[in-house]
Symmetry: C2
Subunit: 197 residues, 2 copies
């Protein structure tokens, strides 16, 4: 990446943080200094099920899929992450237990990564970081609660259209099979849904 591109990357991260909390320029710089730009090629994994997560990431460019594979071999997609989204496996990262998640790039992607020990240090040295992740986690929590309710109250067809309307930029980057695994239905059935409408 050029020097210019790297500066732009950090600006994206800074805007994201400022969107969550009020923070001083100094703190913002300290935080950003711990993130390193990294390129991840299409199909490569930032994390694989069974291994221990050592980095947290912020997506600059590209697209990722966060999913698990169950005993029957079925893939289950938790979410997709594009520009301006965070990549985390909180459980594995915090408790250093083997992850139950895979994080895979769906196209050539750029991320800012922070090392686990660096992040733990940041929690100590910059109190705003606690607040940042408290606020982010709480927002995410609300979103997950809403998604579960949506799953209970809407048919697969309705959920598909909701997803396609809400995240058109993501839909254009992923396969129908991946959408189906996000919606919790078979890809055959998604195909039939799309034909209907």
């Amino acid at each position: 990446m050029t020097h210019q591109a790297i500066l732009m990357s950090y600006n994206l991260l800074k805007e994201n943080i400022k969107n969550n909390i009020q923070i001083s320029t100094e703190d913002l710089d300290t935080i950003c200094n711990h993130f390193n730009p990294t390129v991840i090629k299409k199909k490569d994994f930032l994390l694989t099920q069974g291994s221990i997560y050592k980095y947290e990431g912020f997506v600059l460019e590209g697209c990722f899929r966060i999913f698990t594979i169950d005993k029957k071999g079925n893939e289950n997609t938790l979410y997709f992450a594009t520009k301006d989204w965070w990549l985390m496996d909180i459980d594995s990262f915090m408790n250093q237990v083997p992850s139950s998640l895979n994080i895979q790039a769906l196209e050539d992607s750029k991320v800012l990564l922070i090392d686990r020990t660096d992040k733990l240090k940041l929690y100590e040295s910059v109190p705003a970081v606690e607040k940042l992740f408290r606020v982010m986690s709480q927002k995410a929590l609300v979103a997950w609660q809403r998604r579960l309710i949506r799953n209970h109250t809407h048919t697969a067809k309705e959920r598909y259209h909701y997803f396609a309307n809400t995240y058109p930029n993501i839909v254009s980057k992923i396969t129908d099979k991946q959408i189906a695994s996000y919606l919790g239905i078979t890809h055959e059935f998604l195909s039939k849904i799309k034909k209907q409408s």
Copy 2:
């Protein structure tokens, strides 16, 4: 409540907090001083849909149901809260927007309540509070992700047995209709499931 009972209540809260983070006795006392013991009678609401949430609560005794009612009039249960659980509507509490949730006591219950402005002050004065709620939110987030995956990978029958085995003390306090609204199925179907097994 007797003086003795009140002391015991605060000990339960303190244990809960210490279970989440390392914290000094002073901070722990400061936090607890902002919580007030309150009695809520069976069927009474701590929060109703459309109103703005002003308190956060910690359950000492009894049982609560947190649910929404959708346009069709169907009830959808997010979760049940018994002793040692927290009662929150993060969205309404943080952003002071009308709540989409109801929090109702299913039996005569006791809670420790903290006022919104008091909690905001606590975030400022006791940094450990940021950490406490960051850690709590992250744990909750992981639990919600797992629940969604479970919903996608298991049948209603399997989910019912998982719930009944994991929370036997809750199951004994609630009706099958409420369980069904938690599982995202009709109470008629739950009745058929129970007959089978």
